[in-house]
Symmetry: C4
């Protein structure tokens, strides 16, 4: 008989600061300082693949992200989708189905969800289903797309799809997956009036892409405040 999943502490307790259970804690403290996980919102899930196993580490729902401890983490066996560890009295993040979409459909190594106000404002300032910004150096931090080598160029226009929010977070899964199909190269999906999901091949790529996108969201909002159009062709802004 298998040991009760509540007790598999060895899956989350490690001296290694780069162990996924430790990284989720330290990254969430960092995200808190950015205003990305206010209250108990937002979060991150990390996938650990090696010869021996393929596991997902998930933070619990409803817990203050800057106060997470490694033993708060859920651990799922990715091939079987069964939990290897379930902390008593906690529920896995309501974002779990959305994180799973990034792991399953994009082979992501980590997926981050933030309630960044800059992201929310970009969705409020955009009438259509795509937020755009062009001609900013930071765009070069965004990968060309799923299964492609390299990064976007300075002269490219970055497009991030926006899906509509739903009453329950888990109900976003269908439209999130549909947006992934329609925009196969995006590494992020904005959720109107809610925030953003960002994924990457590794936890560090997910983090730097999330930071770079948030920089672009924030810059885009400031440009609108100053009467500039973030999606305008480069020359148009200079001659405006």
């Amino acid at each position: 008989m298998a040991a009760p999943v509540e007790n598999n502490d060895q899956l989350v307790l490690s001296e290694d600061p780069n162990h996924p259970a430790n990284l989720i804690c330290s990254l969430c403290r960092n995200f808190y300082t950015h205003g990305w996980v206010t209250g108990t919102g937002g979060g991150i899930s990390i996938r650990e693949r090696c010869d021996a196993h393929d596991r997902i580490f998930i933070a619990p729902s409803g817990v203050q992200k800057e106060r997470l401890q490694p033993d708060n983490m859920f651990v799922m066996d990715f091939p079987t989708k069964s939990y290897l560890r379930k902390p008593l009295n906690l529920k896995p993040s309501a974002c779990t189905p959305l994180f799973m979409a990034a792991f399953e459909k994009r082979g992501a190594g980590a997926c981050i969800h933030t309630h960044s106000q800059a992201a929310v404002l970009c969705t409020l300032l955009t009438k259509g289903r795509v937020w755009r910004i062009g001609g900013i150096e930071q765009i070069k931090a965004i990968p060309k797309g799923y299964g492609q080598e390299g990064y976007m160029g300075f002269f490219d226009t970055l497009e991030i799809p926006i899906i509509e929010n739903t009453a329950h977070e888990e109900d976003l899964k269908d439209s999130l997956e549909a947006a992934m199909e329609e925009f196969p190269n995006t590494c992020a999906i904005l959720v109107r009036r809610h925030g953003v999901y960002v994924w990457g091949d590794t936890v560090w790529k997910a983090k730097t892409q999330c930071e770079s996108l948030d920089y672009l969201f924030e810059l885009g909002v400031k440009m609108v405040q100053l009467g500039l159009d973030p999606a305008a062709p480069i020359a148009a802004v200079e001659e405006d």
Copy 2:
């Protein structure tokens, strides 16, 4: 004869970081970084209920909140409203009567008062007695109401009553209690040109609700700056 209340240090000295006297200190340092307790403004009071006792921990008046020490705390026996500990040369926070209203009328486990500039600006931008915001995911962090299970929904409009400021903080008590009666489900009351009071069933709920409300106040101000109405029906903003 009872020991002099000045000397009851055992009520506030503890190695446990979650002891109320320690929590008030660490939370106030956190609040300082948010700009909620500038100067000596704002504060927090925590109620500790257990089989053995029912006590209120109160920070002193006029002390820099980010430099509070556990032995600065006042301790009150809640049933008798008598002080069990009174630090020499200090006075209890002028907010005490208002914190008591949250404990007595709403059974709160903690009450937070901030001078958040976002809260003040929301009261300046609102002509009437109620500040409103609708259709933002973060609203789901706010409980449905006193004595009810569960949290507000994404499609709900959040309403926070605003009371007028008075010359002396303690004089706010009557209008704060009246607003609690009139808005029995609110977990917060804005004070025009002053700040906000937020309470919750536990200290952590009070903190996450205060963070979530401040996020919404800040987002609401930014929406107004961008020409968007935080209280508009969802469709209206998208088609605007």
Copy 3:
């Protein structure tokens, strides 16, 4: 013969975190996080009066304020205005004559100078020689005036004089002293296009007054951005 003033390390080396030489270092680190002492701008001077002596501690000029060390400090004997300690290779802050005005004319225990952008913006938004804000709770953190007991009230209008900047900081002394005479109750003087000087009876009063004023400067700028007049009578804003 007196010991060379370069060597009086005992005047600045202490284990006590509240020793003026240590406080200047820790407060300047705090000020750096507020954006008050960017580059090498701004600073603080503390006066230590006791039965045994009456001394001024002054930070050096041109040094990064968040990296100050206690042995960078100058110490002056206040009654004789002679330096008791002069670190080699350093010059006392160019603000020294202005700090001295607060000590001599207002009996201050500390004087803080910041390059706060909010302060600079308030001077740019004000055509006349006085910046005003009224009807904000944080005003109650400002003392009524020199030689008076108590603090301003919520319904009072706070007035901070503005003097014009000069090419050399020390040349501000005459106009700063003239403003002190003309506005005997002010605890601060704004310098157009430059920043603000704030003093208080003790180092903690100077710090909390400086924080509260900066809060009011920042709020005042935000009000202007939102089309509100910080100096308007209370009713006028509500009905506007």
Copy 4:
């Protein structure tokens, strides 16, 4: 035969916090808190000149700047331009040719590159090739110019040249050097839609000049938001 350059750890490992390899790490953590090196953008290079050697320390490309470790550093012998140390699996910063221009043409002791949003916004708000601000005290932190003693004055107008961004960072070298020739006294060059390069005689001068310029960029953007012209003559703003 020379030792493999991969192994010259003694060039970067030191207990001295002011060793260039340690300083690059601690300064980049500081820059991260300012939002200057979001994602993996921006960076700093330090030149160490002494009787024994003349070396350049360079951070690697594509690494999160707030997580740099001393053993991530490249070390170049400045006279021969040959690498003395090359960490395996890393590439030197793409900014290296631009940092070299500051060392070669201006005798800089350090050069900083940031993606500061305030810098980017200043380039977006300026139609021509020069960003200007005048009559702000913080301008006095900027040196008069290459080979000159002293600093700018309060009544001076600061001019920072803007070059156009290119697809590849290294391709900026020609226009950066041309701008250095055309504006021999500038200590910084803005790159449109990208960020800024700032250098100084020493690492501390580079840092304080970078902070002071960023303060001025930020203030300049806020002035535009408030309808004020950062480059207007002083009287014009007051009477406006």
